[in-house]
């Protein structure tokens, strides 16, 4: 046992695969500590933001209690400096013509003046004592006020041969010193179609997918092992029945069973665990077949017969005398089942039959949405390519571990 473990630890293939998996599992636990928050939070307003750094334009301070900070009329203060005295005079002229008493108009109080102006001004009104020129002037002033109240880009233009050509624009929401702004979000992999942070969602999805693989793999291995041991050791009618069912499910594609079962479970019941259990229950046949074949060859070994003669119970013989001989195989089958469980979830989700879509991200669901929103045709590579790479890495590292184990347990394969 100790020797085997040391051999395994010295197998480069196994160790590389093991370290890759370990790294992934660690990142699932550590990344949320670095970037906290709900992975499914829709932080971007819009679809498929490119990878980059984004500044929140909705700055607000929120703690357990929600505070909305009211800056002392920042917008009006800005306006106060920009609203020239001539413009104020023009406004007063119109308001007087409208019929307001002069003492109600305070030219120094910008906020009140604006309030009054917005409540009363109507460009359609004509007054007998006002010339058209003055009326037009008032309209221009109003338009100026409008543009002051809205944020506009500053246009950068360059002069060539006396004509100005626009060479760029600085948006009202563009920031120079990003590091000095509080609400900055770095999105290394951009956002998906819902405006979620792809990297954060992907790492959370990796955790879910690994969990699905683990549950599916455990169910398939336990189920397959139990049936294989029984069929191989007990033999007779038990063997016939188990092998009949096993042969049946080897030829009937498990993919088809998965589709049928998943479609029949209602959408609300189809959680992560349910999907994992369904995958596990449709993929035990391979383990059963191979375990049975090995148990048949072990059944008549001397130590097993001795155990039988000593009157040991069936479970004890199976666990103490047969299981140790096939343990290495079972571990390898288990690793393979995890890998194929993750792939099965991904494929099922691609068809739209994955776990319920709103609560947990899985790698397959992310692929599903990216394909549904044609990310590949829109050129939004960050929404699907990292996920494919991640799926490939998971199954590659698991396969690598398996090959390493295979070479330790079957020395013939060592080159």
């Amino acid at each position: 046992m100790k020797n085997t473990l040391r051999q395994i630890a010295h197998s480069p293939k196994f160790m590389i695969g093991f370290c890759m998996i370990l790294l992934m599992v660690l990142s699932v636990f550590i990344y949320p500590l670095i970037v906290p928050g709900n992975p499914l939070e829709m932080i971007g307003l819009g679809t498929f933001f490119r990878p980059g750094t984004y500044v929140s334009v909705y700055d607000s301070v929120s703690t357990d209690k929600r505070y909305v900070i009211k800056l002392s009329d920042a917008a009006e203060k800005r306006l106060a400096s920009k609203l020239a005295p001539e413009d104020r005079e023009v406004m007063k002229t119109w308001l007087l013509a409208f019929g307001l008493p002069e003492e109600s108009i305070d030219l120094e109080n910008t906020e009140e003046l604006l309030q009054l102006w917005r409540n009363t001004y109507d460009p359609e009104l004509r007054f007998d004592n006002m010339t058209t020129a003055v009326r037009k002037h008032v309209q221009r002033t109003d338009a100026k006020l409008d543009s002051l109240l809205t944020d506009t880009d500053i246009i950068i233009a360059s002069e060539t041969d006396g004509t100005l050509t626009q060479s760029g624009a600085v948006g009202a929401n563009d920031y120079v010193n990003v590091s000095e702004i509080a609400n900055v979000r770095v999105l290394p992999l951009g956002t998906d179609n819902f405006g979620r942070d792809v990297l954060k969602e992907m790492i959370s999805a990796l955790g879910t997918s690994l969990l699905i693989g683990l549950i599916a793999g455990t169910i398939a291995t336990v189920f397959g092992l139990a049936l294989g041991l029984l069929a191989g050791y007990v033999g007779g009618i038990v063997d016939d029945i188990i092998m009949f069912v096993t042969n049946l499910f080897t030829v009937i594609p498990s993919f088809v069973l998965l589709i049928l079962i998943s479609f029949s479970i209602s959408q609300t019941q189809r959680g992560t665990v349910t999907v994992a259990v369904v995958i596990g229950l449709t993929s035990w046949v391979w383990t059963t077949r191979s375990v049975r074949a090995q148990v048949v060859s072990l059944r008549n070994r001397d130590h097993v017969n001795l155990s039988k003669l000593s009157g040991h119970s069936l479970p004890r013989i199976l666990v103490a005398d047969i299981l140790p001989y096939i343990a290495s195989y079972v571990i390898m089958a288990f690793i393979l089942q995890i890998s194929s469980g993750i792939l099965a979830e991904a494929q099922l989700s691609m068809l739209g039959l994955g776990p319920r879509t709103t609560t947990t991200p899985t790698l397959g669901l992310m692929m599903y949405w990216a394909m549904l929103y044609t990310a590949h045709i829109n050129g939004a590579w960050w929404a699907y390519f990292p996920i494919v790479v991640l799926i490939a890495c998971v199954s590659f590292s698991l396969n690598l571990m398996n090959t390493g184990l295979d070479q330790v347990f079957n020395p013939q394969l060592r080159g």
Binding site: V251, P253, L260, F263, I377, Y384, F385, V388
Partner: protein, 334 residues
């Protein structure tokens, strides 16, 4: 000859037994699920509808359509009767078309795509695996990790990578579809050319994955065979190496053939999902459409067709295997 007859008889009997159970599963599984499948289907179709009477009317309509108000055995007899007449029912999502009609056209695309892909992949994969086992060292050190990497990829993953490289990057092959959008399927040269042009990416994504898996299997098989006693004996006898490799290859190939029959289901499943990436007009895309459109008859029909296709192919492989390996004939006398 007697041995063969017994072998084939057994295989044919087994084919019909599995076919029967596949049909039964296709019929029973949706009906055994906890909850009322008809209610689920109605809930999906009527999502967002607030009119209770209309929902109830649709529910009653489907109860009648599926005959779920009848006892199970009656339903089953009706189901079998319909199947034998080739009647898969009416599609919900593509209304005037029948399920049989939709499946017939998409099945042709899927078979046309997957059959050549599996055959090509099997041949190339086995040759590569055998070479790797024979040469070992250099070639093996390169081939094994690559094969491991590739065979671990889901077919749709490779499909996306190929799409990025050849479709989006180099812009030499089309992004989606089975033929150009502007064409109407017809037996013309332009249409045929367009089909071939659209065929490459889906074909390659299935073939490459399959090559990887087969190469790994063949490599370990051949290594086991190369260490077998008969190989050592032949070497001591001074038989030429090329001749020994011939023996080894033949022996190692046999499990690969029977393995093909067994792994066919998994293969086909993966390839069906790869179709979705390319929006290829085959069964995979049809199933996706059926699921998004809550088209129960279409899904049920498609899964049955896939099962029958897989069963038939593995049956044919079994028969071929009987001819290739004369030992199965001898085994029948035990």
């Amino acid at each position: 000859m007697k041995g063969y007859r017994k072998y084939f008889g057994k295989k044919i009997l087994w084919f019909f037994i599995t076919l029967f159970f596949a049909v039964v599963l296709n019929f029973v599984l949706p009906r055994l699920m906890p909850g009322d499948p008809v209610a689920n289907i109605t809930a999906r179709i009527t999502a967002g509808m607030s009119n209770v009477t209309a929902t109830q009317a649709i529910y009653n309509e489907y109860i009648k359509k599926f005959g779920t108000d009848q006892p199970m055995p009656v339903q089953f007899v009706r189901y079998i009767g319909n199947l034998l007449r080739g009647d898969f029912g009416q599609s919900f999502s593509q209304y005037p078309r029948t399920v049989g009609d939709i499946l017939a056209s998409s099945m042709a695309w899927t078979v046309g795509l997957q059959l050549p892909a599996i055959v090509t992949g099997w041949i190339i994969g086995n040759i590569l695996g055998a070479i790797a086992a024979y040469i070992r060292k250099g070639f093996d050190k390169v081939l094994l990790p690559i094969s491991l990497m590739i065979s671990g990829l889901p077919a749709f993953g490779l499909a996306i990578i190929l799409l990025m490289v050849f479709g989006l990057g180099l812009r030499v092959l089309p992004l989606q579809g089975g033929y150009a959008q502007s064409l109407i399927p017809a037996f013309s040269l332009t249409f045929f050319k367009s089909v071939i042009y659209h065929y490459w990416l889906p074909f390659l994504s299935i073939v490459i994955i399959f090559i990887g898996g087969q190469a790994i299997g063949m490599r370990s098989m051949s290594i086991y065979e190369l260490n077998a006693d008969y190989v050592k004996y032949s070497r001591f006898m001074g038989i030429k190496d090329s001749k020994i490799v011939g023996y080894v290859f033949r022996n190692a190939m046999l499990p690969q053939i029977s393995g093909l029959a067994l792994s066919l289901g998994t293969m086909v499943g993966g390839a069906l999902v790869a179709e979705i990436i390319f929006n290829y007009p085959g069964l995979g895309t049809t199933i996706l459409g059926g699921i998004t459109g809550s088209d129960y008859p279409l899904i049920s029909g498609a899964t049955l067709i896939i099962t029958i296709m897989v069963l038939t192919t593995s049956f044919i492989i079994d028969i071929v295997y009987g001819f290739i390996d004369p030992r199965v004939k001898a085994a029948q006398y035990d």
